[in-house]
Each structure stands twice: as structure tokens, then as C-alpha cells.
């Protein structure tokens, strides 16, 4: 016997009426996490939109594209494995975390300076945005550089530091994947206007609240 549902899709799943007990999910059954940053328009800073669970960064890109950029204008997407983001402590709102932080000596340095991406959170509860890129031989040095280059621009409550090589960036030639988004009006509130129908109905029926 399998379950008959009002949903024909469910009926087709041929669910048994009695479900066996289920084993707890093994660790990483949902994969590791990646953080996604989207770019609203040309020239705008990339802004944090949220995480996805994915087995690798290519799949994370596929996932983040639809989870975080299926609505609202978007021209580009960055993906970073969560593990690869170095996070500073948080300061209170209105403060600057760079002023309160003692940057530790790096445990290891690369022989050559390499590029790091710096993300700032300006207010608790808001989203991190890309502040810029610095060259450094360690996360700590990158943070020092970031403080020198962008650290005096108002309150900054938290900083994320990521090696540029750890950022998967959407390609210039892939921008056309987002061009039709503004036209998908069927998933926007603005496409649904019924005042005319309501007004017409009311005129025809002169309804009053009971």
C-alpha cells in the first residue's frame, strides 16, 4: 500500500504508509558551507548575501546564483569557502574595530606578498561589503594594511579577510546569465494589481461590512 495524496506528485512518489525509523544524518551530509557576495551593479562593491551548503566551489556558485540572485539586479557573484574567511572580533556600533584590536604576530608568512580581499561591516545586523584589496604576506599583515588603507572611514564593527586566490569570481562573459532578471515580473509584487477589479466589484455590489 502506498500513500494517496491530494498532491499528484506525492502520490507518484509511492510513499509507504508506514515509514521506517530513520538514521541520524552523518556528519557533512549537507556539505560544508560557502559564503556568497553579490554585486548589484557595475562598479558597486560586492556585498555579503549569505551562505550555501555545497560540495565544492563550482557547485556553490550554481547554488548561490539562484538562492541569492534570482531577484533584484545583479551583475556578479563571489564565492568563498567559509573556512577561508578570517574574522576579527566585533566592536560595538559606532566604534571602529581597528582601533580596539591588537593584531597578533602571524604564525606563518608567505615568501611573496599576495592579494587579500577586505570586507567591512559598518553596523551590526547589516551585511559586510567589500572595502578593497591589499597585498600582504599573512592575514595579520593584510589586516594592518587594511587598517592603513581603509581603516579610517567611519565606524567599522567587524572585518573579514580572505586571500584573493580563495575567491571564486563570476566571469565577465557570464554577465548575460543575469540580464533577464529584471524582466521576471511574475515573481515581483509589482506585477499584481487588482484595485480595478475590487473597485468594480464594490460598485456592482455596494457591499458594506456586516
Amino acid at each position: 500500500m502506498s500513500l494517496t495524496s491530494l498532491d499528484p506528485r506525492v502520490t507518484r512518489l509511492n510513499l509507504p504508509e508506514e515509514m521506517p525509523t530513520i538514521e541520524p544524518k552523518p556528519e557533512l551530509d549537507q556539505f560544508e558551507t560557502y559564503e556568497a557576495f553579490h554585486q548589484k551593479k557595475e562598479g558597486a562593491a560586492h556585498t555579503y548575501v549569505g551562505p550555501v551548503h555545497a560540495p565544492n566551489e563550482d557547485v556553490a556558485f550554481l547554488f548561490a546564483k539562484e538562492q541569492y540572485s534570482r531577484r533584484f539586479p545583479c551583475v556578479g557573484l563571489w564565492i568563498v569557502r567559509t573556512e577561508n574567511v578570517m574574522v576579527t572580533p566585533y566592536s560595538g556600533d559606532g566604534e571602529n574595530v581597528y582601533d580596539m584590536m591588537r593584531v597578533e604576530e602571524p604564525a606563518e608568512r608567505s615568501a611573496q606578498a599576495e592579494a587579500y580581499e577586505i570586507f567591512h561591516l559598518k553596523k551590526r545586523g547589516k551585511a559586510h561589503t567589500h572595502a578593497g584589496r591589499v597585498m600582504a604576506t599573512s592575514y595579520q599583515e593584510a589586516l594592518q594594511e587594511a587598517r592603513t588603507q581603509f581603516g579610517d572611514k567611519g565606524p567599522i564593527v567587524n572585518v573579514w579577510v580572505v586571500k584573493s586566490k580563495h575567491v571564486l569570481q563570476s566571469a565577465e562573459e557570464d554577465k548575460d546569465m543575469w540580464t533577464t532578471i529584471p524582466e521576471k515580473k511574475y515573481r515581483e509584487a509589482i506585477a499584481y494589481k487588482v484595485m480595478d477589479k475590487i473597485t468594480k466589484y464594490k460598485e456592482e455590489h455596494k457591499t458594506t461590512a456586516p
Binding site: 500513500l3 495524496s5 491530494l6 498532491d7 499528484p8 506528485r9 506525492v10 512518489l13 510513499l15 509507504p16 515509514m19 530513520i22 541520524p24 544524518k25 557533512l28 551530509d29 549537507q30 556539505f31 560544508e32 558551507t33 559564503e35 555579503y48 549569505g50 551562505p51 550555501v52 551548503h53 560540495p55 565544492n56 557547485v59 538562492q67 531577484r71 567559509t82 573556512e83 574567511v85 574574522v87 572580533p89 566585533y90 560595538g92 556600533d93 551590526r124 545586523g125 551585511a127 573579514w160 511574475y186 515573481r187 515581483e188 509584487a189 506585477a191 499584481y192 494589481k193 487588482v194 477589479k197 475590487i198 468594480k200 466589484y201 464594490k202 455590489h205 457591499t207 461590512a209 456586516p210
Partner: protein, 328 residues
């Protein structure tokens, strides 16, 4: 889509005596200043537990909430509805993803949350244990259940936990589409052919009692509740949400000439409060505890989806990967 009604039962973690008084004072001062709490901040155990519980239940309500309207995804009439119904149900899955992520920042893994859901260990919004008999039921859900959810979610978006607020901001923006879409569909039915009108009235009759329980029973005010309100975890009482919902939507139902199946429903002009027949809270409890018309099916579907997708996840599992909580 979540009304928040069944969350704040007393828990065993009420004891604040064990918390560091200096840290607790700093934490409370931060919230009092209107600042958000972020994942790495110190927080009391009670705050963490209640938030995990609330956000997790909200997430479950989204993923299970995709099923009643999903019932009609293959049968939506006409292109306009077909595409919107697909997008609407997709959004619910998307909301679940956002909310599970927010809950994860507090230290519970998505694996654990999903396991607890399919084993019946955690709850979700009770209304989704009711069936969507016709296309009109789906329209009523899209409009009124989402309307109720917005009342609750707008309040919660002003809560103190940063990741939850961020997720809710995105969710509320998408719910605006759900609400308009649902309203549009209901208006088309109500002002359409006699058959359509009959369908939508019947659906409203079926859904009204569950809608009235959507925000949960009146809160029992306790020190526990007061603490959660001071911490901006609970942002509005269940009754406040219900009153706000009635204020906003009953007139919109009436203007379509539809009848709300509660003879006692009226606004008391002196108190400014809506009066209504007290919902059947015994039934509410029975359904929450598993004995509703669709509880078994909802969980069976979720469980089957998990089981039949397991090979995909097994195949792509990177054995060297290390789980790290999402950042924000």
C-alpha cells in the same frame, strides 16, 4: 511562512543565575541600546537555546509550508499562475535555506535540524498539517497565511539577533510578492464566475479556523516571557499579532463580499479590539502533537525527499571537508 505561535513554551534553561553577571549586563545593555547581537558575541544560554528553537521551527515551517501549495504546482491554471506558483513554492524552500543558515550560526548543524524534523522531534507551524483540497485553498494560503506570516516576521526582523534579522529582511521582501500574488488570485476567484466564487468561499471556510490559531494561544505572561521580550527575542505577543492581522485583512476579505465563518467576529469600537470565537485550542494541541489530517504525509514526504537524495549527497561528500559554521 510562520506565525510563531507555538514557540515559547517554558524550557529548562530559564536559570540565569549561572550566567556571568558582568557579561550578562553588557549583553543586556547592548540590546537596550538597540544594537544587534552577532554570532561571535557572548550570549546567555537561554538566549541561544530559544533562538535556535525559534529559528529552527521557522525554517521547518518554510520547508513543510512548501507542501500544501506544492499540491497545486502542476495544476496552476494558465501561464501567469503556473510560473508564479512555482516561484512562490520555490521561495518557501529558499526561506528554509536562509533560516537554517541563521540557526546554524548559533551552533546547531543543518544535519541535526533536518534529522529532528523528520523524526518528529521538532515542531513546525501547525497550519501546514491541513490539506489544500482545491486550487482555491492554495490561493487562501498564499494570501492569508503569508499575510499572517508577514505580521510575525516584520516584528521578528526588528529582533536582536543579527543573522535572523538579515534573513528576515530578505524573506519579508519576497513575502511581499506572495501576499500580492495570493491577493490577486483570491480577487480573481471572488470576482469571477459563480463556480470560482463558491470555490474560494469554501476554501476560506476551511482555512479560517487554522488561520485563527496561526499565531498561537494567548501568551501566559511569565518572567520567562518578559526576559525574552527584554532580549528582543519575542517581539510581539501572540494576541497582538492576531489583532494586527484581523485589522489588516478582515476588511479586505469583506470588501470582496466573502463571509468569514465566525458569527462572533467583529471589531469592538470601544476597545479597538477584535472579538471572535475562541479557537479550538484542544484541536490545536492535538494537531501539533501529530494527530492532524496531514502530519504523517508531510513528514513522510520530507523524509522520502531526504532518503532519495542521499545518494547525491554521499557521492559528492568531500571526506577532507571540515564543517565550519556559516559566518553571519
Amino acid at each position: 511562512m510562520y506565525g510563531g505561535g507555538n514557540v515559547f513554551e517554558a524550557t529548562k534553561f530559564d536559570d540565569l543565575q549561572t550566567e556571568d553577571p558582568v557579561k550578562l549586563a553588557e549583553f543586556e545593555a547592548r540590546i537596550a541600546r538597540g544594537e544587534k547581537i552577532e554570532p561571535n558575541d557572548w550570549m546567555p544560554q537561554l538566549y541561544r537555546k530559544q533562538l535556535i528553537r525559534m529559528i529552527e521551527q521557522h525554517a521547518h515551517s518554510e520547508i513543510i509550508g512548501a507542501l500544501p501549495e506544492g499540491t497545486w504546482i502542476t495544476r496552476a491554471p494558465g501561464f501567469r499562475r503556473k510560473m508564479a506558483q512555482m516561484a512562490k513554492v520555490q521561495d518557501e524552500v529558499g526561506h528554509a535555506q536562509l533560516l537554517y543558515s541563521a540557526a546554524e550560526t548559533l551552533g546547531k548543524t543543518r544535519e541535526q535540524m533536518l534529522t529532528d524534523l523528520i523524526n518528529g522531534k521538532s515542531k513546525y507551524s501547525n497550519v501546514f498539517n491541513y490539506p489544500a483540497f482545491t486550487w482555491a485553498d492554495s490561493n487562501i494560503i498564499s494570501w492569508l497565511i503569508d499575510a499572517g506570516a508577514i505580521v510575525n516576521q516584520m516584528a521578528n526582523a526588528k529582533g536582536s539577533y543579527g543573522p535572523y534579522s538579515r534573513a528576515l529582511e530578505r524573506i519579508c521582501a519576497e513575502e511581499a510578492f506572495h501576499l500580492k500574488y495570493g491577493h490577486d488570485a483570491v480577487v480573481h476567484m471572488a470576482t469571477g464566475t459563480p463556480k470560482q466564487r463558491e470555490m474560494i468561499q469554501a476554501a476560506l471556510n476551511r482555512w479560517w479556523p487554522p488561520i485563527m490559531t496561526f499565531f498561537g494561544p494567548s501568551d501566559k505572561m511569565s518572567t520567562h516571557t518578559e526576559t525574552l521580550m527584554r532580549w528582543k527575542v519575542k517581539m510581539a505577543s501572540n494576541d497582538e499579532c492576531r489583532q494586527q492581522f484581523l485589522d489588516m485583512y478582515v476588511p479586505k476579505i469583506w470588501e470582496l463580499g466573502l463571509t468569514v465563518p465566525d458569527p462572533k467576529l467583529k471589531k469592538n469600537m470601544e476597545t479597538g479590539q477584535w472579538e471572535y470565537t475562541e479557537p479550538d485550542w484542544d484541536e490545536f494541541k492535538r494537531v501539533i502533537n501529530g494527530d492532524g489530517p496531514c502530519n504523517a504525509e508531510r513528514l513522510a514526504v520530507r523524509r522520502t525527499a531526504e532518503e532519495r537524495g542521499a545518494w547525491v549527497r554521499r557521492a559528492l561528500l568531500n571526506p577532507k571537508a571540515k564543517y565550519v559554521r556559516p559566518l553571519a
